[in-house]
Amino acid sequence: MKIRLFFALLGKEIGERFRGEGVWTLLLRAVLFGGLAAAFVWFYLKFAAVYLNLGEREERTFELSALTLALLLLLMSLGAATSLVRSVRLSGDLRLYAALPIPRGTLLAAKLASIALGQLFLSLFVLCVIGTAFRFRWEWIALAAVCLPLLSLGIGAILSYPVYAAIRFFRGKFFLSFLAGTAVFAVGLFLYSYLLSGVKELLLGGDLKYFFGEKVLRGIALAARFAYPANLAARLLSGETRALLFVGGGAIAALPLSLLLARGLLRGAYSFKAPPEPRIPASEKASPKFFALLKKEFISVFRTPAYVFSYFSVAVVMPLMVYFCMSVGGSLLLRLLGVDCTFELAVFLTLLYSSLTNVFCATNVSREGKMFCVLKGMPVRAGQVFAAKVLFCMLVVALSLLASSAALFFAGYLTLSASLFIFFLGLTFSFAQVCFATRYDFSHARFPSEAEGEVGEGSGFSLLFTGVALLVGGGLLALKLFRTLGFGAFPASYSALLAGGVCLVAALLSALYLFLHLKRRYEAFAGGNV
């Protein structure tokens, strides 16, 4: 293997992950990741302490560490499988590599190494947390941190074949892939709601005993016993040398296995045989201009897998998020502080989750690419083009908001008038966000370099409204708590007035920002690297 070439390719693979990311975006991501990591560490350490107190510490340590490692391995293996398919089977740079004098072995080694490196950081982080929780020795932790990425690479290489088959199956089946993606997301969310209720119990000082009856503990023990190879890795952490033999051996064997299987994927990619294209019927019936523009917005999102997931699926699960968080948060605040903040919490959650649903509108112009300029050559008004974009985003978020307000009403958290208010509040806030983000993207358009390229929601700016939601909703919640605990009362009507006022002003300002002198700006547009 050519070492210099290997490092050049590895550098390119790693650089690709951060390409086009600004300093602020990276910083924001680091802060978000740091926040999530801190929450995980806090929760895990607290949970481990409670779990160990259930008795038979050695058994409990093994069970919890084995199951944690099993979950970690599962996530890492799935991550490795999708990364392998993406970079070895579907990557666009393969067309270039095929024509360059690069040995396949070196190319594969670089691609596998870049995947394994990412996994090494994750496994090291999780193992450090487990090590701290159960006081494992650091040399075993380091050993496991090296072995786990290799194992996950091997498992991922095996899984990459069914993953690729699934990708091929879902090709062109837009509705089915949307349903599947949303279902997976919803299941993940359902599990997350369990986690939230666990956090609630921990915060309330409960010892989670109702969770872990004799039957549940027996089930956990059984699962841990059969959770191969994670249970062996757990034994390795506690210093069993026999486990080292299996885990180390497995890791060493996983390396050639993953190379062999990845070579098969690459061979398939280098054959450049495209499967037959699915035929999709399209209506030839005439429709009004505005409807055509609206339909175009829908199609370009719905038929791009990355977009459909980050937009429609998030919008579909948003009501669930609001409902779960409401069920946990409402009772938590009531029991901890004795203050009924149901309405304020509903405002906070609605603003927060609708802002997260709308993050996608930050690419309203950029995702169209050069076609945005081509559209300028067609007989359509600037107002029509932008109104279609705004309306499309609003339709999606309106349905989502309607479902979440209805859920809050039917679950008995809010009265009918309050849930209607929440719906319109969310709508006003979303309108502000959509207008503002669309205009900002119009002024700072970043078109993908290729016609079929996709743009990420990369701009840290798109999260500005999430910050506003946190500030308004969180501020309102804090005000309610502060006033109620200090002065005895803070009616919900005050909260409604405050939140409504802020959202209305934001909506008016954003609409002005987008639509004022739009025609002139549209005619003068020459951005997006055309």
């Binding site: 294209e277 300029c373 008004r381 547009f525 055309v530």
Partner: protein
């Protein structure tokens, strides 16, 4: 009737930068094919993009079918169809879906749309691929769907930027024949190209550009069989 009138068109990409094109003036009459010729960086694509409304221009006047591009942009844009040099299209639409979208934008009624699609399909031979996503199209196929889309509303002016690049010889011949037939029907065609023999064979007049300036307008039609020689001589003399 003058279909396209360009007067002193000027454009620069940066406020104090050099002009990408300056003082370009020419016309395109009914039934005429006009070629824009010049080497790389001469300003062909910039001129075409300004005419199409894709790029704002700093000075001059563009009039399509009597409609000023700045004062009456919608009416002007409704009278021409265009193909960009990079064959941009909504790649997540199928070929038929894209044509239908353009039909809606240009207000082509359902009945006429169907007939025109069939007619264009015969010229450009996209076959079954018309019902596949444009995403999966080859370079040439994308060019074909863009050409079909630009003709769906039967515009008075057909503007093409480097139309022959990437097409197979059979389609190139069909496109050339279609250009001639389209002009004969009383429409006007304007295209930019490096292909001197094609420009000489097809065009009634050729606008010669160099360094963003218009250096000549050659009345090729008047030179009969000598038109190729004339264009070549002038082109190499200027470049």
């Amino acid at each position: 009737m003058t279909v396209l009138k360009v007067e002193n068109l000027s454009k620069r990409y940066h406020k104090r930068g050099e002009f990408a094109v300056k003082d370009i003036s020419f016309t395109c009459e009914e039934g005429e094919i006009v070629g824009l010729v010049g080497h790389n960086g001469a300003g062909k694509s910039t001129t075409v993009k300004c005419l199409e409304g894709m790029l704002p221009y700093d000075g001059g006047r563009v009039e399509i079918c009597g409609f000023d591009m700045r004062k009456k942009p919608l009416a002007a844009k409704a009278n021409f169809g265009f193909v960009t040099d990079d064959h941009a299209a909504f790649v997540r639409m199928t070929g038929r879906g894209y044509l239908s979208f353009l039909g809606d934008i240009y207000g082509v009624p359902t009945k006429e749309r169907k007939g025109r699609m069939e007619e264009l399909e015969k010229v450009f031979c996209l076959g079954k691929a018309i019902d596949s996503l444009i995403f999966s199209y080859s370079h040439g196929m994308r060019q074909k769907i863009c050409m079909m889309g630009s003709l769906l509303h039967r515009p008075k002016l057909w503007v093409l930027d480097e139309p022959m690049t990437g097409l197979d010889p059979v389609t190139v011949r069909s496109v050339k024949q279609y250009m001639q037939a389209y002009a004969k029907e009383g429409h006007a065609v304007l295209f930019s190209s490096h292909d001197l023999p094609a420009v000489a064979a097809l065009c009634d007049r050729a606008v010669l550009l160099k360094g963003g300036r218009q250096v000549d307008v050659l009345p090729l039609k008047e030179y009969g069989t000598e038109r190729g020689k004339l264009l070549e001589e002038r082109y190499f003399h200027e470049n």
